[in-house]
Symmetry: C2
Subunit: 400 residues, 2 copies
Amino acid sequence: MKLANRTIKTSESGLDALFAATSADVISFAGGYPDGQLFPTKAMQAAFNASFAADQGTLLQYGTTTGYTPLRQKIAARLNRLDGLSLTADDILLTQGAQQGLDLTARLLLNKGDGVVVEGPTYIGGLAAFDAYEPTYYEVPVQSDGLDLTSLKKVLLKHEIKFLYTIPDFHNPTGTVMSVEKRQALVQLANQFDFIILEDAPYRDLRYSGERIPPVKAFDTEGRVIYLGSFSKILAPSLRLGWLVATPALLKAITALKAGADVESSHLVAVAVDDYLTHNSLDAHLDTLKTSYAVKKDAMVQALTQYMPKAAHFNNPEGGFFLWLTLPEGFDTEKFMLESLLPEAKVSFVPSKNLFASKSVINGARLNFTNVSVEDIEHGVAALGSALSQALAQPISHHG
Amino acid sequence: MKLANRTIKTSESGLDALFAATSADVISFAGGYPDGQLFPTKAMQAAFNASFAADQGTLLQYGTTTGYTPLRQKIAARLNRLDGLSLTADDILLTQGAQQGLDLTARLLLNKGDGVVVEGPTYIGGLAAFDAYEPTYYEVPVQSDGLDLTSLKKVLLKHEIKFLYTIPDFHNPTGTVMSVEKRQALVQLANQFDFIILEDAPYRDLRYSGERIPPVKAFDTEGRVIYLGSFSKILAPSLRLGWLVATPALLKAITALKAGADVESSHLVAVAVDDYLTHNSLDAHLDTLKTSYAVKKDAMVQALTQYMPKAAHFNNPEGGFFLWLTLPEGFDTEKFMLESLLPEAKVSFVPSKNLFASKSVINGARLNFTNVSVEDIEHGVAALGSALSQALAQPISHHG
């Protein structure tokens, strides 16, 4: 019984070790979870209730693959209002979180071996989605203001690529934001070298300081940007509800692919979320999230400032879920976490290795601050600092 | 901007014409929808309410890719009780309806060009799911007692195949049931020729007459049967909740693929359905469905007996959603429906051509009876009979 090549590759992705790193007595900076205390549970219960109460026999039936039109209209209106886009419901497909948008875009574009540019590091679930279509990856470093365009141009001059995957706002895993200038230049490169930009923006609405800047999609002149949004981080992950923005022509092809993948997303959930958005202010809910997450982020930055050894470097992101820790070259954060930090200090993070398509960078770590209490952030970072100081005092070959 | 080969193929699948065939003034026998009047709306509303009321902060959070364990336990227990299987929750993955099970199985097994046996005719959404992985199809006819095993053996002697896709219970589109003897023989062939059987059973619990027979999975001796079930036809499609049964080793690989495709299915929906199953009798609900659908099926068979011209043949299935109409060889049911039946008689069905991977059989049609009133069944079949009699009186070259 021979499995497909993609399956063999996927089972080596290292996701297992990542998930195994979570247990009750561990302070986990590894997850990418929103704070469960902040879910709008009562309002969501009311929205489901109202949807059932108003039902005329269609709520539990099949809807359409594209998705419930009033909700798509609301999503379009919101993006138009906040980001200066001019979308209608016809530009939007409802998806199973943003994750399915990653799968469907790869499915739309990739034949085996086709070129894909990914950021280094990038979202591990992006690689998991794309891996199924067996692309050739070209990795471009992420700088403090986003993608390294000089490095990107070198790739584009040598290789044909189908799409470039980027998380421009509060990047997963580094927390960085791509500058406006780079967003504009990236679209120009896409036009010049004929590729699609896959813009993944699940954290976009979670800015704690600084000014909101337009999405890459706002600079799109030739319909080359496929934009992914999600309610997972701003309302609730278990809704499994995201959206994909593309030109109507691309959207038609993507919708046909989604029909083959899962027929459609839940009409019931779409109706309930539409009701929630009708009777509640998402902006007010976002203010609650941002106030709380900003406090946690500041607590983590303060603790890191206090407890990290001098050889460790970290950033102070303006939003999102994560910040990025860099240890000296040659220091293996995966080995450190699995052999020392997790079993002894009972703290976990996501080591950098599997966040690079190339698996070439071993000295970084992603730290989440949204789903940890301020107290645990302080204790966990203190324990991390102590364990790191000890490990760094040892000969580096032990960790290399 | 070049799309993937699969995308170009998918946009030619003919699904568009099928969906376009539905409008308000049409009596549609084309759909595959359950009767919206029979949804357990009140009980489902109560289940969502109870789930929200009992929530300790996890209901709206990420769950696991495998899915909510109590629900997987209930599904296992039900299959064990009714079908003599010996499953645990560890054998079950929750999916987005059975459709995602089709996608994930193809993703698990297929490299481009790999062999897949499909029934002729088969579920059009099966072909849409598999098409994404660019298989080589081998089509085996469906007889009144299921798959033609003589024809299958000829294929197996000549070609290596990865899996065989079958809908053994109340087959979509023909309504036939595979005999027990053929189920046993099919498993033996899978063992002998080293392939997976993908058993798709969304209609299995909807038997209106005759005795329930074991699923193919019950005869599985080497873990070669992947079994798909769904709540879409027995509770509600908009839950988007199905399940996949496989050996733990295969399930582990499939779960990793699902994580890349959409992270997980909705934890909220799984908890609510689990609550529904705790406080309601699914068997009692099924009795309601079966009583109503049996009346509709009988009404359709009676109307066909009364109104069909002699040259038309149809079957009388023991369960499910569909029966199958056969017109004389050379009669093109797609042309007939699009040019005459739909615009003039305002009746629609699913013509056979796109239900065959080979597109070689043009004289069949699938008729759905579950989502049409008894009155519309009588009127629609009368109109169909009249239009068919007229068309058959014309020289066949007009339709050929």
